[in-house]
Amino acid sequence: MTGMDAILHGGLQGYLVVALLLFAIGLAAVLLRRTMLMQFMGVELMLNAANVALLAFARFRGGDLQATVFYLFIIAVAACEAAVGLALIIGLYRHRDTTDSDRTASLKQ
């Protein structure tokens, strides 16, 4: 399968293109939206794009189990990142009464 055909019928290129577009949308969310929660969701989207690419490469290398183990670790780190990131956003909201990233340029009081 080459070219458009691979994209339409789930070849490796199709998964990589989906991952790239997902990453670009996440990046756009981080850069264009000002609410910190939206930026956080954009970061999660970019992380998921990386996971899609990782598991797509693993499948086309004959179902490599190592990649699924790595995916497990990535998801553990993502859960930590979500917990601490959201706690930081709540803490900032308590001090500043805003979740706009322009208004919270510094973490200090």
């Binding site: 070219g3 339409l8 789930g10 070849g11 490796l12 290129q13 998964y15 989906v18 790239l20 577009l21 997902l22 990453f23 670009a24 949308i25 990046l27 756009a28 969310a29 850069l31 264009l32 000002r34 609410t35 929660l37 939206m38 956080f40 969701m41 989207l45 998921n48 996971n51 899609v52 598991l55 490469f57 693993a58 499948r59 086309f60 290398r61 004959g62 179902g63 189990l65 190592q66 699924t68 183990v69 995916y71 497990l72 998801i75 553990a76 780190v77 859960a79 930590c80 979500a82 917990a83 959201l86 706690a87 956003i89 709540i90 803490g91 909201y93 979740t99 706009d100 322009d102 208004r103």
Partner: protein, 164 residues
């Protein structure tokens, strides 16, 4: 099948990017995560699909939606200063990244070779196999991940608690 899940994923993500109401954006995000789980099933990896549903569509999105409701900031606040040039530049950057990446993937000989060599669907990933690889080769990493989750939990409580 692939096209359906890819469209669910990308339209969910696009809806999240364009939606003004943050709660609705969060729900679009859940749709995108469901689409990604579907893609994982198509990649012969039901273990990752189940993990994706449990951890992302379940735990992380519930966390995010709870925080959105706690902060009562459902709409984006009015901009303090508008940065039209920066916004256009960032949009251009994202588009250039996407276009350049897609062009690179489509032109790459290595990707093409990998795609044709691994075209046959491999046996589905089983939890048994993943467990064996995890505990035989990555026991230390597994323990460290557990410790890190504990540290993150303590950190989150310490950050949100007003006075310990």
């Amino acid at each position: 099948m692939f096209l359906a899940f890819a469209l669910i994923t990308l339209l969910g993500a696009l809806g999240m990017l364009l939606q003004k109401n943050i709660i609705v954006a969060g729900l679009f995000m859940v749709a995108a995560f469901f689409g990604i789980a579907g893609l994982f099933v198509l990649l012969a990896n039901p273990v990752a699909a189940a993990l994706q549903l449990i951890v992302y569509s379940g735990a992380i999105m519930v966390l995010v939606l709870f925080v959105i409701m706690m902060l009562s900031s459902h709409e984006e606040e009015a901009a303090q200063a508008s940065h039209p040039i920066q916004r256009w530049l960032s949009l251009l950057l994202a588009l250039a990244l996407a276009a350049g990446g897609v062009k690179l993937v489509m032109a790459s000989k290595g990707v093409q070779m990998l795609a044709s060599r691994g075209a046959a669907v491999p046996p589905a990933v089983t939890l048994q196999g993943v467990g064996a690889v995890l505990f035989e080769g990555h026991l230390l990493g597994f323990e460290v991940a557990g410790l890190m989750l504990l540290a993150a939990m303590v950190g989150a409580v310490a950050l949100t608690k007003r006075n310990l």
